[in-house]
Symmetry: C2
Subunit: 480 residues, 2 copies
Amino acid sequence: MTVVQENKSPESVQESLHVVQELLRKHQLVESLVHKQQGPKHDLVESLVHKQNLAELRAKLDELHPADVAYILESLPLDQRLLVWDLVKAERDGEILLEVSDAVRETLIESMDSDELLAAAETLDTDEIADLAPDLPQDVIEELLQSLDARNRARLQSAMSYEEDSVGALMDYDMVTLRDDITLEVALRYLRRLGELPDQTDKLFVVDHEDALKGVLPLKRLLIHDPDALVSDVMVDDVVLFHPEDEAHDAAQAFERYDLVTAPVIDANNHLIGRLTVDVVVDYIRDASESEKLGLAGLREEEDLFASVWKSVQNRWAWLAINLVTAFIASRVIGAFEGSIEKLVALAALMPIVAGIGGNSGNQTITMIVRAMALGQLQPTSARKLFLKELGVAGLNGLIWGSVMGLIAYLLYSNIALGAVIMSAMTLNLLLASVMGVLIPLFMVKAGRDPAVGSSVMITAITDSGGFFIFLGLATLILL
Amino acid sequence: MTVVQENKSPESVQESLHVVQELLRKHQLVESLVHKQQGPKHDLVESLVHKQNLAELRAKLDELHPADVAYILESLPLDQRLLVWDLVKAERDGEILLEVSDAVRETLIESMDSDELLAAAETLDTDEIADLAPDLPQDVIEELLQSLDARNRARLQSAMSYEEDSVGALMDYDMVTLRDDITLEVALRYLRRLGELPDQTDKLFVVDHEDALKGVLPLKRLLIHDPDALVSDVMVDDVVLFHPEDEAHDAAQAFERYDLVTAPVIDANNHLIGRLTVDVVVDYIRDASESEKLGLAGLREEEDLFASVWKSVQNRWAWLAINLVTAFIASRVIGAFEGSIEKLVALAALMPIVAGIGGNSGNQTITMIVRAMALGQLQPTSARKLFLKELGVAGLNGLIWGSVMGLIAYLLYSNIALGAVIMSAMTLNLLLASVMGVLIPLFMVKAGRDPAVGSSVMITAITDSGGFFIFLGLATLILL
């Protein structure tokens, strides 16, 4: 008896990757030998070794979970990736395409022709096809639509029409429904007749003859109650449910908060049209947090680790351009004070300190505020309290760190007024950072934008230019 | 019939918060009236209104899900939070303490005496008590241990001993086990006799007489197979399972990859000791991504939105200090070139541009690499490929943006050599950023540290000081 199929334990997907890489290395060794020695006899021997090698690789891939094959494809450079992709059984292509990241999916789909893509898509459920659709060529989608029956065609069309981050885009159609006027015994017989239950099923959906949702029957309750009881007596009628146009973000919070495994999705007329499952929600949560992290560093999208230089440059372009513009503005602020710097060159050395601490502190404030906003915890009544708190923190930090730097500046340049100027400038820039750290996200929400995107660039731009202006301005007024 | 209990739909937790805030506002109005008008008659009237008001608030809280009460507590300033906390039924204290964040939990626990804490903890399961334990006073823990039976005491002690981010710290003990030599019919009768199944149960654990795991029986299979079949014929014996010392991070990846709802946790002798559930994994994923985000901005821990100024300063202190040190080093680099700046003051205005673009680009590289490392996708064999790619991206960006800035510098200062210097300096600093962006995380992993923490500060420190040095150094060599 094997309790664990070893290749499914969390560590061993990396072991699988190593096995595949080892086989690929051997394969490439053979390849290069074939190229070097062209005699007919050698050819035969090598091609036998070669074939055996590929057969081994194929066998290894066949025994892996689709998610693990996806992982391996992601971890391989493009040439090896396509070689492995060719060895994967055609009927598994669909499920693996679902598992890889968008960037890698693009490279795989590029290597397939329309027939292969069609065959791959036809192994999938409608909601899964809809997930692939944005990456599929138009002619494949047309053919797919024609190959489906009316009900599934309608589903695919509506699934493709939902906005990316809506519940509709995440839901599937694997609902098991039943009526409320039958006994549990009948329900149990019905399930046995069905012969299969969709993955993640933790509850059945109770509907009336028009498919309107009346409640849910958790499997737990089905199992523990008397088989003679009626579904209507055992079902639960206070249900956490969603509409397809609800935001995925809110649905994810509800899944977290109420520890859901599945939840029904209904339309405006209370008709059951799909269900949301926790595995999809987990993927969504992960994706959302990944893209937020990437966004913070100005990577427009998930980047294929082995993308070409040119593709990577494009992915990182916009961010560098924006930062260059803000740096240029800061540079012009300094330019306006060139006369002062010429007279007291210490200003040039000290000014980045004033700008830097403002940026760091402002980013701390913004991170706090954006987080509170994402959780919906920032109430108008508490905004004022927060504002005062952030001002307090900034003021205190300004006095502490400003004094430290003021003292150091005095010791370095034996100029007590210069020490006083840098201390005042740091405090003022920290206050500016805290005010803007609260205002920028509030303002972005008012303007209907996501405060997590771009707030950081804005605060840094302001505290840089502002810091240079405050410090050089004060110095010009007081010292010169 | 109510299909949705309105307070459970995702939007309405914020509505509940508004209701509570409205009631609090009324309450405080009454309070302030009582303070102003001291006559005995007024006292009576006001205290009646007062009581009615609190009763309303208490009723509202009673009907809310514990997670929603937790959410409301998080969103309220300290005085209101404690007022609401007092109104929550004592028997719900435990489950609500589990739901709030660490920072807020601290404020709530501070307001409770030992007896209240003991009563709250006693309503919880052993694994839940272990989650609270770090925040409980030692005497409460002692008393708790004494109040438990031997089995649960042993469980609590071992649960408290697991490392924070291990599977052991996340698992619970709510397993339903059965033998493999019974029929499904018998299993079904057993479940009915149990009368209850733990939340999230999607499978039963099949064990031998010594509690060694032999397989799992998914409820799905229990439901669809013939009741006369034996558990041993229907159970699944390739199981994704964990050990208590496994890292939570790896377990979370396995849950995502294999779409798990629950999984068994076994000890070294294959004995079933607990189970991991998806709701806990979801919370873990969310917490880990939150603290990473907070860490990026240098917030040491989740901050209570309404923490005191002093507490907040402490939370943000270390980061500002580190950044101040790196800024000071950069400032000293500039200081070394004060002579050059005095001769050509344009250098002071242009130098932040060179430093800035290096920092931005380096952070992009680091974000990519750290992400690939977290997914375990960075293989030694592919590191060289990645390195070359990042150098290529940096070189190309350097030529493009360097030329743009070189041209602008030439137009501003009519000095063609200055334009050439800034272009070369930007390219060199971008190359430095890409090299360090790959090396820093690799080095941190070698040193056994988490590359996500601190990499960003290090790269910025290097590209700042390095950028100033390269630009001012080149300028001194070529222009002066």
